[in-house]
């Protein structure tokens, strides 16, 4: 058991902050090095590290220490946009005989120091490993100023609007300064004395504002941070209250659909709708304002993958409170079998994610046509059937590089979908829809298993990460002629077949386990098999459309290519099994 040191109030405050953020600090440190290192190693495996790759790596390691990922929300008792309560989070310290500037200064000093130390250590490791001169002092100053400015907005007020609006100018200003100086890196990345003076000014002013704001909260002149007593709150609750429709009482399944729609599905749909509205807006603005164009391209390119990545998470609604993850007792004690419960949750979330993806996709597609606003009449005239026969550089010179990027994306999508026959389009739709369901089920199962078996899952995750890193480093070594290509090939093949065999074994074991525990009703088992068969057939069709002829492949390669068809079955058994493990612990 950890004991608080009893030296002084400041030591106690620092200890408290260390206890709250130590795991996250270690995670960010490892994440920064691994992600940036993987990018650099991967690039090095295929030749010398390019400037753009190095910039990406620098960007990734720098962004790891942006305070948004820090425990802003955690310190304030919730998750970002979900139960997030602005205001000074250590309200229980108000009764301690310590001046307010110490109450504010100690946590800020700790958080700033830990972020700066994390960045500097990561940069030094990457410098030593890859020889790139990751800047130290200038970025450390940016991170420190950024953190202090963020805490001023987060802690100085308990007004969410002021907080949101207040956190933007300083944060964006510091990021803009860093990006501006960053243009010439790695050739040059120097801060002028004026830059350091500006950062110092932002830091001092922000600290003063935070102390003043917290003092007001402490005296009772401003609304103090409201300690979180409930498990959920925030934007999703507000949304659930905004869109009301009566809960059906005629069947448990319908009521469950209503529950999952209201509790999380609406949020997914709202995020999809917001993204869909943002895209045309960005393109419309980028017509007259050319500076917005890169953002319009970036957002439209990443909106769909980002929605696919983030929206399917935690369909089982696993909750977290004070570091403890658990399933809702309220839901767990309802008379409902686990497999149908898991099925409804996964299907409702899948329907919402697919709807959001369709809306975002359609919006992105429609927005791309607004690219004509970026071009002059002459440039528009140049786009004809002969345009695509010109070399890429010539096309870029004709319409401008940004417009060319968008036109190329549009053209590629048109060509890809235009080449598909009707049956292949149906197959693609089936693969996407079932693929999303698989993703939702696997993410939900992961959240449940992480709550039930956190240590085992953490070990497995770290082993996978280390394995991936070893593969990347080995690829780098092979590229430089230090290691044998045969060794890499053997490990890759071994990995491939271990994954395939593991998936088959896990699926068979879980299927048997569910049947033995009478968790999977025969009807649901039949639906799982049918979904897998449909996915397999669609997958096979798409492989054919992609020019891969399974029949002419060696049996082992053909089996590997068809192995994704097993994933729906794996997901169908893993989801109820994992929910059962957290419902009946």
């Amino acid at each position: 058991m950890m004991r608080s040191p009893g030296f002084s109030p400041v030591s106690a405050l620092l200890w408290e902050n260390w206890r709250l953020t130590r795991r996250e600090g270690a995670q960010r440190f490892a994440q920064g090095i691994i992600v940036a290192g993987a990018v650099l190693a991967w690039s090095a495996a295929f030749g010398a590290i390019g400037t753009n790759t190095a910039r990406w790596a620098f960007f990734l390691v720098g962004m790891t220490y942006v305070p948004l990922w820090v425990s802003v929300a955690k310190l304030n008792g919730g998750r970002f946009m979900d139960g997030y309560r602005p205001g000074y989070p250590f309200y229980f310290l108000y009764t301690r005989p310590v001046p307010t500037f110490v109450l504010v200064g100690a946590p800020i000093a700790y958080l700033v120091a830990s972020a700066v130390a994390g960045y500097v250590a990561s940069a030094l490791v990457l410098r030593a490993a890859f020889g790139y001169p990751f800047p130290l002092l200038s970025v450390a100053a940016c991170i420190a100023a950024f953190h202090i400015a963020q805490w001023a907005a987060q802690w100085g007020t308990s007004n969410k609007v002021v907080q949101w609006l207040g956190s933007m100018p300083a944060g964006l200003g510091i990021m803009a300064l860093a990006f501006w100086r960053f243009r010439e890196w790695p050739a040059r990345f120097d801060f002028l004395i004026g830059d350091y003076a500006l950062l110092t000014l932002i830091g001092v002013a922000s600290f003063g504002l935070t102390v003043a704001g917290v003092a007001r909260q402490r005296r009772g002149d401003a609304r103090a941070f409201n300690p979180r007593t409930t498990t959920r709150d925030g934007f999703s609750d507000w949304l659930a209250g905004l869109v009301r429709f009566p809960c059906p009482t005629t069947s448990a399944t319908r009521a469950q659909v209503w529950f999952d729609l209201r509790s999380s599905g609406l949020l997914v749909l709202a995020i999809g709708a917001a993204l869909a509205m943002l895209l045309p807006l960005l393109f419309a603005v980028s017509g007259p304002i050319a500076a917005v164009r890169p953002y319009a391209i970036g957002v439209s390119a990443f909106a769909w993958p980002a929605a696919l990545l983030f929206l399917p998470g935690n369909a089982f609604g696993i909750r977290r409170r004070q570091g403890h993850a658990f399933a809702s007792t309220f839901e767990a004690t309802l008379p409902r079998k686990t497999a149908p419960l898991a099925g409804v949750k996964v299907l409702v979330r899948t329907a919402c994610v697919v709807a959001a993806l369709i809306v975002v996709g359609l919006s992105a597609w429609a927005s791309l046509s607004l690219v004509s606003g970026w071009m002059s009449a002459a440039q528009k005239m140049a786009i004809g059937p002969a345009f695509w026969e010109l070399p890429s550089s010539q096309r870029g010179a004709l319409v401008g590089p940004e417009a060319h990027g968008v036109l190329l994306l549009q053209h590629t999508i048109q060509q890809t979908f235009g080449a598909l026959a009707g049956s292949q389009l149906v197959a693609l739709a089936i693969v996407i829809a079932i693929g999303v369901a698989v993703l939702v089920a696997l993410r939900a199962a992961h959240a449940a298993l992480r709550a039930r078996y956190p240590r085992r899952l953490n070990i497995a995750t770290w082993m996978l990460l280390v394995h991936g890193l070893v593969l990347v480093l080995l690829a780098l070594a092979v590229r430089r002629g230090i290691a044998s290509a045969l060794a890499l090939d053997t490990i890759l093949r071994g990995t491939k077949w271990t994954v395939a065999a593991g998936t088959v074994f896990a699926t068979v074991y879980l299927f048997w386990s569910l049947l033995r525990e009478r968790l999977l009703p025969p009807r649901q088992a039949g639906v799982a098999l049918l979904a897998s068969a449909a996915f397999g057939a669609a997958w096979f069709t798409l492989l054919g459309a992609g020019g891969l002829h399974i029949a002419s492949m060696p049996a082992i390669d053909a089996a590997w290519m068809l192995s994704p068809a097993l994933l729906p079955l794996t997901a169908c058994v893993l989801a109820p099994w994992s929910l059962s493990r957290i419902r009946h612990t």
Binding site: T231, G241, H584
Partner: protein, 300 residues
């Protein structure tokens, strides 16, 4: 009588901490069972096994003859549960909570639910998160009893309720359920509440059942006697059937089991006499069994 809950030799550990150690417990229809124990005694863990929230890793749990983990629908459709934390979806309104719970219970009695809502003066258009702790408990209680469950499980039902609500509403509901021939199991550390409401009492301590039986039998099996000795004792005198001894010098107060006659003989053998004897209260039995009497604490 119909066996509602049948738990045999149930053990459960969380890491190195043994929460339940060979617990056996039976409940029959139409009775109110009170589970008593200090914090961490294993009451909630036992109730979670009855609800199927915890798997029986050793021993067996049957509710209406069913395994609540393997057949949650069969078991839970006949059970009403009020959790200690009153965990309800915060975003729901009270009327939505009622409709949602109704969908899972074909036996839902809408008029009974309405009647309870009115008697609790709950505003059904309010969100759960807007309710006070007591109102939240009342909403959870309605959701737990409105389908007229055959088994009502209440985990620390008094927590957060004021004295009036506790006595007038909770007692009335529990008695109504029992008088209808249904069963109530509730855990509490308020011993007066258990004495008032229960037909049976089970004392738990460190994951074990130390005392279990009909309340009258339990109380009848323990006496509290005041004894006076001719000689001065610096340490508590050794009496075979004594569970806890308080006092000093010549005058001692003893909670003991066995027959009164046997106790008289034991005291006489040490040169003393029993001045006064009465049935022990549940609190005295609990403190003696849990090793919390003043003398035992001092001795420890």
């Amino acid at each position: 009588m119909e066996q509602i809950v049948d738990i045999n030799n149930l053990s459960r550990s969380f890491g190195s901490n043994t929460a339940l150690d060979g617990v056996s417990f039976r409940a029959t229809a139409g009775q109110v069972y009170g589970l008593v124990g200090a914090n961490g005694a294993g009451k909630t863990t036992l109730l979670k096994h009855v609800l199927g929230l915890l798997r029986a890793t050793s021993g067996s749990v049957r509710v209406f003859g069913l395994d609540p983990v393997r057949d949650p629908v069969g078991a839970l459709s006949r059970v009403g549960y009020l959790s200690e934390e009153r965990e309800l979806p915060e975003w729901m309104r009270v009327d939505e909570l009622m409709r949602y719970t109704q969908a899972f219970h074909p036996t839902w009695d809408a008029s009974y639910a309405r009647e309870l809502l009115e008697s609790f003066e709950l505003d059904s258009s309010k969100k759960i998160k807007e309710l006070s702790k007591g109102m939240r408990a009342q909403a959870a209680l309605i959701a737990a009893v409105a389908h007229r469950p055959e088994l009502l499980i209440l985990d620390e039902p008094s927590s957060g309720l004021d004295a009036m609500v506790r006595r007038d509403i909770l007692d009335a509901i529990v008695r109504t359920v029992a008088d209808d021939g249904r069963t109530v199991i509730f855990s509490s550390h308020l011993l007066d509440e258990v004495e008032r409401m229960s037909d049976h009492v089970t004392l738990m301590h460190h994951g074990r059942v130390t005392v279990s039986g009909r309340l009258d039998d339990v109380r009848g099996g323990y006496q509290r006697s005041r004894v006076w000795f001719g000689q001065h004792f610096d340490q508590p005198p050794v009496l075979d059937t004594a569970l806890a001894i308080e006092g000093g010098g010549r005058s001692w107060s003893v909670v003991h089991t066995g027959s009164l006659e046997q106790f008289h003989h034991a005291v006489l053998a040490l040169g003393g006499e029993v001045v006064e004897s009465r049935d022990a209260t549940l609190e005295e039995i609990f403190l003696a069994r849990a090793g919390r009497s003043r003398q035992q604490v001092e001795a420890a």
